[in-house]
């Protein structure tokens, strides 16, 4: 406490001394305090539009003050001011350290704030006036730079995304090419995927045992890609169960997923010529929350004694709870997910696992349809391109040739 008092006293004393000094040395009082040399202001200030935004940002660039890093060498920072009129009130919008020669002025998007005009707002097509000054290391300021004016524009193309656009176009081109090639009757080979090969056998087993099959589409949303891949496998499973007259249970945790799963199973039964076998009650909504859903599915496994369990889609922490409960009942379990964190548990606790990309490839593999196999081939070609580029880049770069490295860097 005492120490604080002493410090406070010291601070107060030094502050009053400073104040006094400031009073004495203020203009008008011709005292002989040595005039400190002021830094020169930055020059050639230019206001341009940020080409990749929706009209709320400008870019301020300038030439460094001649005292920045040279001359008096006393510039510490630059201060940037903006106003909507040349003689209006200028708002300090940014500070940049010495040696820097541009500033991105990101305005706010709300015209008004709490019913009053928002001073930080920047809108498209409005003239904004800027001026700048340099701040010296001792806290003095240069003159203001000349007043300049500029506008922000609402832009229609993001120049920084051209690379991604090219990548999308190339990849889409590959996909479409291989689909048409396959349609023309070109044979496409797909390597065996153990998890998918086991589907038929596991359904046969459930039929022999006279027990139902469980299909869990995960705890993602209905439109997630892994869930959509799950529907394809569900369609296949449902078609087979219709043939074998085995019951398939599909508990879901999302109403949209419920609708899709019902449609999928219904269509599969119709395709198998057994629409009479379809029972909507077997595809049911439990609850949207993760753990209540898991509790109910675990209970279902034990009470219905499901012989084969499928887990296809997005899974979170529940993956291991489901897989271990399934192991207790002695069910054959086939899983597939693109969630990296859950793959280890599926691999350890289920019999077969579709790892990441294998899940997406499963739809093509299952149907053997040219339309669905084409994209798989395109994926592989994209991989070849990547492998080659990456290999070349790393090797050549290590020997000092940076061409491929910079090529990849610009692409990504």
């Amino acid at each position: 406490m005492i120490r604080f008092k002493i410090r406070l006293a010291l601070i107060l004393i030094s502050a009053s001394v400073l104040l006094l000094f400031g009073y004495i040395s203020s203009p008008g009082q011709e005292l002989e305090a040595p005039p400190e040399p002021l830094p020169a202001p930055p020059t050639n200030v230019v206001i341009s539009d940020d080409p990749n935004d929706d009209g709320h940002t400008t870019i301020v660039s300038w030439q460094l003050s001649r005292d920045d890093g040279a001359g008096l060498n006393n510039v510490m920072a630059y201060e940037i001011f903006r106003s909507t009129s040349p003689e209006g009130e200028f708002l300090q919008v940014g500070v940049m350290g010495k040696g820097l020669d541009s500033y991105i002025d990101r305005g706010e998007k709300e015209k008004t704030r709490n019913g009053e005009p928002n001073p930080r707002y920047i809108g498209a097509g409005i003239d904004y006036y800027y001026k700048m000054r340099a701040k010296s290391t001792t806290g003095t300021y240069s003159e203001f730079s000349e007043l300049v004016v500029g506008q922000a524009k609402n832009n229609w193309y993001h120049t920084g995304k051209t690379n991604i656009m090219i990548a999308v176009l190339i990849f889409s081109g590959l996909v479409i090419y291989f689909i048409t090639a396959a349609k023309r009757g070109k044979e496409l080979y797909v390597r065996p995927i153990a998890g998918i090969d086991a589907v038929d056998e596991s359904i046969g087993r459930a039929t022999e045992m006279g027990r139902p099959i469980l299909f869990v589409l995960g705890t993602g949303t209905a439109a997630d890609l892994a869930t959509i891949a799950g529907y394809t496998i569900l369609a296949r499973v449902a078609k087979m169960t219709a043939d074998y007259q085995t019951k398939v249970l599909v508990p879901v945790n999302e109403p949209v997923m419920l609708a899709v799963a019902q449609e999928t199973v219904k269509s599969a039964y119709m395709e198998a010529g057994r629409p009479d076998m379809y029972d909507e009650q077997n595809i049911f909504y439990v609850t949207a929350m993760q753990f209540p859903f898991v509790a109910a599915v675990c209970g279902l496994m034990i009470r219905e004694q499901t012989a084969t369990n499928f887990y296809m889609g997005i899974f979170h922490a529940e993956s291991l709870i489901l897989a271990e409960t399934g192991a207790i009942t002695g069910a054959i379990q086939i899983s597939g997910t693109d969630q990296l964190a859950q793959l280890p548990f599926f691999i350890a606790a289920t019999d077969y696992t579709l790892i990441g990309e294998e899940l997406y490839a499963a739809s093509g593999y299952l149907s053997k349809e040219a339309l669905l196999l084409g994209p798989v081939k395109a994926q592989d070609y994209a991989k070849v391109i990547l492998l080659t580029l990456l290999g070349l880049a790393v090797i050549t770069w290590s020997f000092g040739w940076g061409f491929f490295k910079s090529l990849i860097s610009t692409i990504s």
Binding site: V168, L225, T232, V256, Y360, S363, Q379
Partner: protein, 206 residues
Amino acid sequence: MRRQIPLYIVLVCGIVFVIQFFIPSHESEFIFEYGQDWVMVIGILALPLGIWSYLRKTWLTAVKKPKERFFAGVSLFGFAIMMLTGLKRESLMAGSLYMELFEYVLIPIQATIFSLLAFYIASAAYRAFRARSVIATMLLGTAFIVMLRLIPLGPISDVNQALVGWILSVPNMAAKRGLLIGIGLGAIATCIKIILGIERTYLGRD
């Protein structure tokens, strides 16, 4: 025709949302923000469908299976209580019966089910981690080394610590990248298949 319209909707929506990514203008921002918001709103509007499925199934169970009647009743009772207490906006404030039920019924069960993982991770490790093949040995070996880091073993611990650090930052990183690149390619191909209407299982058929 009925089957064609949804495919066109997918095509148009898909392409619009891909294109908006390349357009920074505020019209594009508008589409981006609203599109996401709308998907969420539709998801909530669809909830009655799920609730209907749940109620019907539980009710039918209660009617058809006398043995299950008690449990179906418990479920419906819980549902009714929570619905009634959640009818008012104020119920979402702390201290309401609705939030109390959340706190003292949902949370303990949720946390306990989550904690079952401590048991299951042990039984899964015991069952799966057998050196049956090279692949299984890799899995088992790494898991073993990583688990050892928590067990005090004198000087071995220091070496192990360093080894775990290396495994996590080198091979672990490499495999994750390979996986993510693969998943990325597969996901993009799937997206293109969906947008072009090649992948359409999810729409069912008439």
